[in-house]
């Protein structure tokens, strides 16, 4: 009987540990419509939301930049699990982090992996396992050519 209880407890512990690890990952996803023109908003005559099914933002003007803010869910000690941007039309993005006192800025310009779908959209993945600045803020900074689209983006971090 004791042996049977022991087996059950071991099984419960084995199940609990991996699920605890995944429970520490905190992820957020955003539509591209959260992105903003990189400049004064009154100067934005080119980024359009129409035709993007309420989720994307498209550049109908000359090449320009967007900033896509990220709301962090873990404020203190944490590390990036991954961040991603889903884009099309030759859009490229970098991931910017900045400390609360603005004394430290780190940017990751190149994705660690890129997946291209059959319709040409690209899934850009950044910063797998990279460190986070405690209390730092995060945002994507994207170069958007004419007819380029930011479809969405996301961020996942893990509390230590």
């Amino acid at each position: 009987m004791t042996h049977r209880i022991l087996q059950l407890l071991v099984a419960a512990a084995v199940v609990a540990v991996p699920s605890l690890a995944s429970a520490n990952d905190v992820s957020t996803g955003y539509p591209g419509t959260r992105c903003k023109y990189y400049g004064v908003q009154g100067g934005d005559g080119q980024f359009h939301l129409s035709g993007q099914q309420a989720n994307g933002i498209k550049n109908l003007g000359a090449t320009a930049y967007l900033v896509c803010p990220i709301i962090r869910e873990v404020m203190n000690e944490a590390r990036v699990v991954f961040a991603y941007a889903n884009v099309s039309g030759g859009v490229t993005c970098g991931l910017y982090q900045r400390s609360a006192d603005a004394s430290n800025t780190i940017h990751i310009d190149d994705p660690s992996s890129t997946t291209t779908s059959s319709n040409g959209a690209q899934h850009l993945v950044y910063g797998n396992g990279g460190g986070l600045i405690s209390d730092g803020s995060y945002a994507f900074y994207c170069r958007v050519p004419t007819n380029g689209v930011v479809l969405g983006y996301g961020f996942s971090e893990n509390a230590y």
Binding site: A13, A16, Y96, A100, D101, A139
Partner: protein, 175 residues
């Protein structure tokens, strides 16, 4: 106690501990950090010739428009249970600014009634002396009730040359 007994106790502790961590995690990590590029001009977008992220590392906004203007920085509430009517607490709300920027925190009831307008109750100056962290509630010492269903946002006056870098909140269920 037999070796089996000790092993069982240890395993029980592991299982109970794991479960409590998982159960408590939902509100134990209710902190949120926002880049100031979440903030927006207090007025129509077409009239915003002031707040520019350029030069702020994609994370901040500064006012280069030549006149003092207002910005709002919306807060995404994370503990929000209007169904049960459970009030929550802000354990901390703070905003990082420079160049003479001043901010207030507006907490508005769900029905749009008069907002609770709060001034900062503490200021921490960073090493450069210009860059400041305005704190509205500080850890365990001061907390603030948030009515069920209420929304919250910072409202800042940013002089020409002033900036907002980021802001953060920590919200929990009322004990």
């Amino acid at each position: 106690m037999t070796i089996h007994g000790k092993t069982m106790l240890a395993l029980c502790a592991l299982v109970v501990g794991s479960s409590s961590v998982m159960a408590g995690r939902a509100f134990a990590t209710d902190n949120t950090v926002y880049p100031a590029t979440e903030c927006r001009f207090y007025g129509p977008n077409a009239d915003d010739t002031y707040f520019d992220p350029n030069g702020m590392g994609a994370n901040g906004l500064h006012n280069n428009g030549g006149a003092a203007k207002y910005a709002v920085c919306p807060i995404v509430r994370k503990v929000f249970d209007s169904r049960t009517g459970v009030a929550t607490l802000f354990e901390e709300a703070s905003i990082q600014i420079s160049g003479g920027t001043t901010c207030m925190l507006y907490i508005r009831p769900w029905d749009g009634g008069g907002a609770d307008i709060l001034s900062n109750d503490g200021t921490y100056n960073y090493a450069d002396g210009n860059h400041k962290n305005l704190k509205f509630f500080t850890g365990d010492e001061v907390t603030r009730d948030i009515p069920p269903g209420a929304s919250a946002a910072f409202y800042c006056l940013v002089p020409n040359g002033g900036a907002i870098y980021s802001y953060k909140t920590s919200e929990g269920k009322k004990p």
